[in-house]
């Protein structure tokens, strides 16, 4: 086997030399644009892209139709008469149970949950990561390992003990409680992210600061923080999309009047009473998906970096 392939290789090499020597055209062989290979590659990729884009298209199209048109036409046809009424209705009038003030309530609830959760979880995790990378002590790595293993444990296993703990402290069902829950479950992946990043920074910086007499918090605030903007952006992306998209914690740890947007959306669309208004439902779905989508399209490559690190959480 090996001999044959060596022979082949030598043959190929000789051929290559021969063509080099002959004074023919130089440079790469120009590729045909419409080769069979290209048609196949772009064909498959194009079809796949269609499959991925289809639901987004259907959402947009449906949300712009009036209900009579939805009932008559098919879901793929573009709207004959564009109307923004479903959007208005989804935002301000759609009903969940007795409340008929639309998704706006869920949106603001989600914002109120999102902002403190993102800030607290990233603050705690970045300090932890920094301590783990630069100020180890006996046992710190052990607890870190437990934390990482914990990332794989299904939430359902830990959720009830957490309910009891929060109830004992007296913050079960409150916003503070949910912020703590998001901080806890965001901790493994974020701490890992920050630990690895800080460990990758040149050690000399840390040592120089130590020699100059800087302490734990000074080094963190003056040296590490200014140097780690990119990783903070990645962490923010992970947390914003993750917390916005959360459903389970929202259901378990909040009360109906503070339900986040995802929970409220599900209640609106899957409510059994009343006539189903598909266009309003799709507008509501798009509204809920808008925040992570905007984050995604704005952040681009950083998002990819974030999910490669954050996928453990999902």
């Amino acid at each position: 086997m090996a001999d044959v392939s060596t022979l082949n290789a030598t043959g190929a090499a000789l051929d290559a030399v021969r063509t080099e020597l002959a004074s023919g055209p130089r440079g790469k062989k120009p590729r045909k644009v419409l080769s069979r290979r290209n048609v196949m590659i772009y064909g498959i990729l194009g079809l796949a892209a269609l499959y991925y884009l289809l639901p987004l298209y259907v959402m947009v199209v449906t949300s712009l139709k009036g209900m009579p048109e939805v009932r008559l036409g098919n879901i793929f046809s573009p709207p004959v008469e564009i109307t923004f009424e479903p959007w208005v209705k989804a935002w301000a009038e759609a009903c969940t149970g007795l409340n008929c003030d639309g998704l706006s309530r869920g949106f603001w609830n989600s914002v109120r949950i999102l902002v403190p959760s993102v800030i607290v979880s990233i603050a705690v995790a970045s300090v932890s990561g920094y301590a783990l990378a630069n100020w180890r002590f006996k046992g710190s790595e052990l607890f870190f390992s437990v934390l990482i293993i914990g990332a794989f444990i299904p939430y359902q296993v830990m959720i009830y003990p957490l309910v009891i703990i929060l109830r004992e402290i007296g913050i079960y069902g409150s916003l503070t409680g949910l912020v703590i829950v998001h901080t806890i479950f965001g901790m493994p992946i974020l701490t890992l992210l920050f630990r690895n990043y800080f460990a990758g920074l040149p050690e000399e910086l840390f040592k120089a600061a130590r020699i100059d007499g800087a302490g734990f918090w000074q080094i963190y605030g003056r040296i590490m923080l200014p140097m780690s903007l990119p990783i903070f952006v990645v962490a923010i992306i992970i947390q914003v999309t993750g917390i916005w998209n959360d459903f389970l914690f929202g259901v378990v740890f909040t009360r109906p009047d503070t339900y986040p947007m995802t929970v409220q959306l599900n209640n609106i669309v899957n409510s059994v009473q009343g006539v189903k208004e598909y266009n309003v439902n799709m507008a509501a779905t798009l509204l809920t998906g808008a925040v992570p989508l905007i984050v995604y399209f704005v952040s681009g490559r950083l998002f990819v970096r974030g999910i490669a690190a954050g996928a453990v959480k999902g």
């Binding site: 499959y51 990378a133 100020w135 599900n266 809920t288």
Partner: protein, 312 residues
Amino acid sequence: MPHPMPQQSGVSKPMPKSSGRPNQLFRNLNSKIALTPMILVAAVVFFGGTIWTVIYSFTNSRLLPRASFVGLDQYERLWASSRWIISIQNLMIYGILSLIFSLVVGFVLAALMDQKIRFESAFRTIFLYPFALSFIVTGLVWQWILNPEFGVQGIVRSLGWTSFTFDPLYNPDIVIYGILIAGLWQGTGLVMCLMLAGLRGIDEDIWKASRVDGIPMWRTYIFVVIPMMRPVFITTLVLIGSGIVKLYDLVVAQTSGGPGNASEVPAKYVYDYMFQAQNLGQGFAASTMMLLTVAIVIVPWAYLEFGGKKRG
């Protein structure tokens, strides 16, 4: 990784060992304070919480947790419940198919993207955007597309093929495949991205060598490149695997477990028994089974990955 600790303590305070280090607890105090939240989370919530749930799965707690132990009763009841059996079957079907499909589709897309194509970033953006959306949004969109009256089935019928039937969300036998379609739509972009990163990590010389040897491209992929990408595949497998066990929101949004209980999954069983049926014991037993499932996937992997390194 920097290990600055030992040197520093050596530089700053070269005290003799015999003096007993009176301030052992207070050494590095700031770091200990900073890590208190992490230690609490790891020890109390992750470790303590898990142990607590496992212990209480052996009790007959109903509305409130009670420490009256009944042995394996809850587990017997669990495995006698048809709803749990359906949940497990659904999870198996969904899990195996979603592993196979997302790996195959993800790899094929990544391999195509790796052919120095144009518009690569546009394609990547398109394939990955569903991953930014929540399972709730995903489930609701696909509920609409698979709606038998207005969705795919309705359209094919209106084209003249009136006997065409495709109503996965209303047919108990195939409902889990309807959920699978949505799940794959949401998740394959991520697999594609991981695979693409893996492919980019393959040395260009490998490709040159195989081209010189005249090996067809598909054979190079199967016999050379894929074995070289083993770590990427394992990481992806663990990621998808641990995500599958958590499957919950998608089912809630798309079918709410129906029709009947044909699309129930274990995570939903746990939630319903803990927070709605007020049968905590069942919820704890079911969640312990989920933990066991994850352990079966994770422990061998962790052993291979981290146990192996220690041995050298």
